[in-house]
Symmetry: C2
Subunit: 189 residues, 2 copies
Amino acid sequence: MSTDTRDRILSTALELFHANGYSATGVLDITRAAGVPKGSFYHFFQSKEALAVETVKQYQGVVRYELLEKSSQSPLERIREHLAYITKMAEAEHFQRGCLLGNFSNEMPSQSAVVTAVVEQSLTLWTDKLAAAIAEAQAEEEISNRSDPRRLAGFIIASFEGAVARSKVTRSRAPLDGFLETVYSDVLA
Amino acid sequence: MSTDTRDRILSTALELFHANGYSATGVLDITRAAGVPKGSFYHFFQSKEALAVETVKQYQGVVRYELLEKSSQSPLERIREHLAYITKMAEAEHFQRGCLLGNFSNEMPSQSAVVTAVVEQSLTLWTDKLAAAIAEAQAEEEISNRSDPRRLAGFIIASFEGAVARSKVTRSRAPLDGFLETVYSDVLA
């Protein structure tokens, strides 16, 4: 058994959890889709729950928080690039998956305290980085809104999660376009 | 078999879907919790999916859109009462359930087109009523924001859905308080 097999199980699980949810995805679905024997699963992961924790950690890289920190751009430009990136991700998947963190925020609290804790860590990290960029945009007077950057950051992330869930329902960009327009015209204005 | 049995199945299913999600709730879970024989389920409902459609319709009454239409209050007062009501609902359930429409927006698109369609109808109805109240608040100059009321309404509902999901993760009012404060200080200002 190679780490290759482990990686294959992990990336397949991330895809299936993201597309169909945690409850709707069984260990057998994962090993079948990964093309590995079921027995190999428990060689690498204690449980579906332990695997879900790893998928959340992996997903942090997908969301690309680092776009909020690129020093070659102004803070507001970085925020725009980051939000454009995450809305394009949703579009690339034809609005079928939404955001894993939002999906798991809804699903996991009733299923697993351990996975919920790692989702919260990831959302907090994201909020911290967005809040820092908003504070910089305020300091550089790119935006005139003087409200608490952490409150604004938490609100914008929640708004994104709600909008991307709505885009799953409508199968269209419209909720995400409304989100972006309102963020720039009415919140970070 | 009485309509009593049907009502019991329906209200129990609403509770279980709301608390644990659609995939995690089986027909047997529902009939057991309702205290009715499993056979009686199929006397009243063709499938779990058909039942889920009914729970979404039932939930429309729970969210009390009509608070947005009470003519004895100013439009902004009605919006405040409605948003206070739905955040208190989340608190009364100890932040364990979130909003059925938000939960189903995330879960159902990969599970059922029929349920997704009825979720979208319900969200659209809600958006229409909130947009009408925002338009009135603009006309009566209770708020100075002149942005498109429908866009603002869709954004606020998405923000609420994201915030209530986050409150499930944190098991606290904090995300909902941040939502309310930002709506009144930065969006409907």
